[in-house]
Amino acid sequence: MRDLVRLAVDHALERGATYADARAITREVETLEVKNGAVAGAASETESGIGVRVIARGAWGFAATADLDRAAIERAVETALRIARAGARASAGEVELAAAPAARASWKSQFQVDPFQVPLDEKVRVLLEADRLAHSLPEVKVSMASMRFQREHKFFASSEGSDLEQERLESGGQLSVTAASAEELQERSYPSALDGFHAARGYEVIREINLPAAAEKTAKQAVDLLTAKPCPSGEMPILIEGSQMALQIHESCGHPTELDRVFGAETSYAGTSFLTPDKLGHFRYGSEKVNLVADATAPGGLGTFGYDDEGVAAQKTDLVREGIFRGYLSSRETAQRLGQASGGTMRAEAWNHIPLVRMTNVNLEPGDWSLEEMIEDVGKGLYLETTRSWSIDDQRLNFQFATQAAWEIEDGSLGALVRNATYQGVTPDFWGSCDAVGNAKTWRLWGVVNCAKGEPVQLMHVGHGAAPTRFSRVRVGVLQHG
């Protein structure tokens, strides 16, 4: 594969490209899903291919092929060159890239247990046991337990001399329980919603989250939610659990700090950003408790790697420091426009997609509060747990989230379970009301595997370190039916 990426780059230069890079990737994925007592999905997926990115006549072109013979790769290069030259007819001037040192290295993610070496029957047994325990109550209509493992081997070469090899491993799993009555439908997920908990580690992740151990409690909460108190409506202090904080960070900090988006590149799909360059360095994004970083070096995160898909080394950079907006997620092209070096965040979902500015691990740094201290301090409020729904506007300001469960906080103690909880806010006001962030003991690096961006849509795996976090005054209970 190393020879193939070099072949692609050399051929592009011979045919007139002023810049070229190529990524060759092989990927292996195993997914196991148990639903209502049956193995609903046991799938093994393999894919490989090469993507070539060129600049010709000052414009970008990209083409990809799964055929890994010399002729097919040369055809892909020529397609990319033709696309670039055609695009120059309606481009905004020549693409300029911030300087980046040529990198020659290899990198591997760290893990203890290779999930592909764990016997399949052991994995299925864990899922069936979790599913059985989760389906023990009559109100449970759907129980599901799943695992997903991915190994990716990537080679990268560029016309500037970079020559990289990286091997990443991911492991994750989830349990979800849906209970229903005539009018109600409630779901509880463990350890988190969406597609569960994932990390760039090995099978030890599955052993740590221990799905069977959590199954009965998860199911009972789903059933209890059917008849729980409705979410109160009004403004009050809220305390948000870590996995929901991960999505809050993702939507209201991660996306708006993507510099391509700031410059309008995503206007036709997901929108732009309120964090325009004139705000850089002085805009108050949140309270002084708020410290957000993009950290592609954090061990085990879904946004952890050695080098990005432009060959730029992984970095840890400030996005928000003591509440002030300090930096962006960037690429060589976007950073150049600000006179900066790339933040090293260009990533593509697969070999056949172009790299885009993506979140790495966008983390809220821990504070110094224990969970108990944060609850004790609240007279009347809500503790919200696990994502149910999410929506935010095309500037990343007006958001509304729903969580699977919530509990009242009364006089410093957790009280009754609450169903259909929602909260709504505007990003800087919301983060401005942050008055407590959980300490390192409560902090965890969560994974999101469905971050959608670009056309055609690419789903990226990104990380978010978060702890339970408190906000002093937030609107809750939108559209409260009871």
Binding site: V39, T46, G49, G87, S91, H353, I392, R475, L479, H481
Partner: protein, 437 residues
């Protein structure tokens, strides 16, 4: 584009190799060319190509799946072997009956050779032209123009042999100014049917009309939803409620309500993959023919769509709505139609004393699946209607609303339906719609 012979060769080789009780092979080849523009210039320009070979095997009631993007015989054989190895190791799925038996396939024209032959130079010329239209109003253009060719082949040990190439052309245009934006979109199986200049003019007019927007106090308003906005709600309704599996699992708003009035009698919704007014397709990922399914008929819940797995549970036959296996959500309708009425958009506005005209929605997500409660934002053209005319543009609004409840208050239906992705819908005037912030 992979030819029929090429696809059948892959299918036959895989089926010959398999020693499973039942085997299904899907060959899905996709070639996409997309030119994307922002700030009135092309910034992303690409060609993607890939072929997936998806194998599903049954050993009795034990199921295994494997996917590869290698199409060489040895690699496909390995995928079959991996699927069989997985099936041997998993527990039987007691509810599995059989892969589907073959059924006659309809002829559908979904492939246009000139569309498949689209070239990057012509796409760049379109971008230059539509950017020029935006610049007439001193505005900026963003959007994309894409052309794709999908080839779907399905073969099974039960005798299914299905092949269909499908083209699709899509143009999206957003025109922006400092405090305003406008949107238009066009999609067709046939690139020559896209009028990109007309869409650009519409987006420009929307943008110019949206300048200097005002705030609106949240609350309940009458709304006129243009097709892009209405279509998004219909797609969510379909996802949340119109598949057999979600009904069987007691998750759908239709549970226990078939044969009863669930929304306004002006509302009829059906799925028809064979109707050339939409984006037609002859068969699904199991090689089952697309059948028309009436979902809502004059407000009464009538039916849902099936794949073979969900159909066997009710001793029915598939309606041709299977997604790629394995799939735990079940079947989903993807060729939706909503009945039209007799009103023009202008008549809907003229008939509104006070309300909101919505061009499209943004980032919609369900917050309560069974009640069909969803939230999202308006985007790229939101206007206050007063005394039967557009009074002023509005800043974007968040809505939080039950879709079924909204469709219980239909006032008027547009006379023309537009293709909006996977559904073909008219503009609709609703009596009440809740804007929450």
């Amino acid at each position: 584009m992979r030819s029929r012979e090429d696809v059948l060769e892959i299918l036959e080789a895989a089926l010959r190799h398999s020693r499973a009780d039942q085997t299904e092979v899907v060959v899905w080849n996709r070639e996409l060319q997309l030119t994307r523009f922002a700030n009135s210039a092309i910034h992303q320009n690409l060609a993607e190509s890939n072929t997936q070979v998806r194998v599903r095997v049954a050993l009795g009631k034990r199921l295994g799946h494997a996917v590869t993007n290698r199409t060489e015989a040895a690699e496909v054989a390995q995928a079959v072997d991996r699927a069989i190895a997985l099936a041997r190791l998993v527990e039987p799925n007691k509810e599995f009956v059989s892969l589907p038996a073959p059924a006659p396939l309809p002829e559908v024209r979904a492939f246009f050779a000139a569309t498949a032959a689209s070239e990057p130079e012509s796409r760049a010329d379109v971008v230059a032209r539509v950017a020029g239209i935006a610049q007439k109003g001193n505005c900026e253009a963003a959007g994309s123009l894409s052309v794709s060719v999908d080839v779907l082949g399905v073969g099974s040990s039960l005798g299914i042999r299905a092949y269909q190439p499908v083209t699709q052309a899509q143009f999206t245009m957003i025109v922006t100014d400092s405090d305003a934006s406008g949107f238009a979109q066009a999609v067709s199986r046939d690139l020559s049917k896209l009028d990109c200049s007309a869409a650009a003019e519409t987006a420009l007019r929307k943008c110019l009309d949206s300048r200097r927007p005002a705030n609106l106090t949240p609350g309940e308003y009458a709304v006129v939803l243009e097709p892009a906005a209405m279509g998004e709600l219909i797609l969510f309704l379909a996802y949340l409620g119109f598949g057999a599996t979600v009904v069987q699992e007691d998750r759908s708003f239709l549970c226990g309500r078939f044969g009863t009035q669930v929304m306004s009698e002006q509302v009829s919704i059906w799925d028809d993959g064979l109707d050339a007014r939409g984006l037609p397709l002859a068969f699904d990922f199991e090689g089952m023919p697309k059948r028309r399914v009436d979902l809502i008929e004059r407000g009464v819940a009538r039916g849902v769509v099936y794949d073979s797995y969900s159909a066997h549970k009710e001793k029915k036959t598939s309606t041709g709505h299977a997604l790629p296996a394995p799939n735990t959500w079940g079947p989903i309708p993807t060729n939706l139609f909503m009945a039209t009425g007799a009103s023009s958009l202008r008549e809907m506005i003229e008939g509104t004393e006070r309300g909101v005209l919505v061009t499209r929605f943004h980032y919609v997500n369900p917050i309560h699946e069974k009640r069909t409660d969803v939230t999202g934002m308006t985007r790229d053209g939101t206007f206050l209607i007063e005394a039967g005319r557009i009074a002023r543009p509005l800043r974007n609004l968040r809505f939080t609303q039950s879709i079924v409840e909204a469709l219980s208050g239909v006032d008027l239906l547009g006379s023309e339906a537009e293709v909006v992705g996977e559904c073909t819908v008219p503009a609709v005037k609703l009596r009440r719609f809740r804007f929450s912030s």
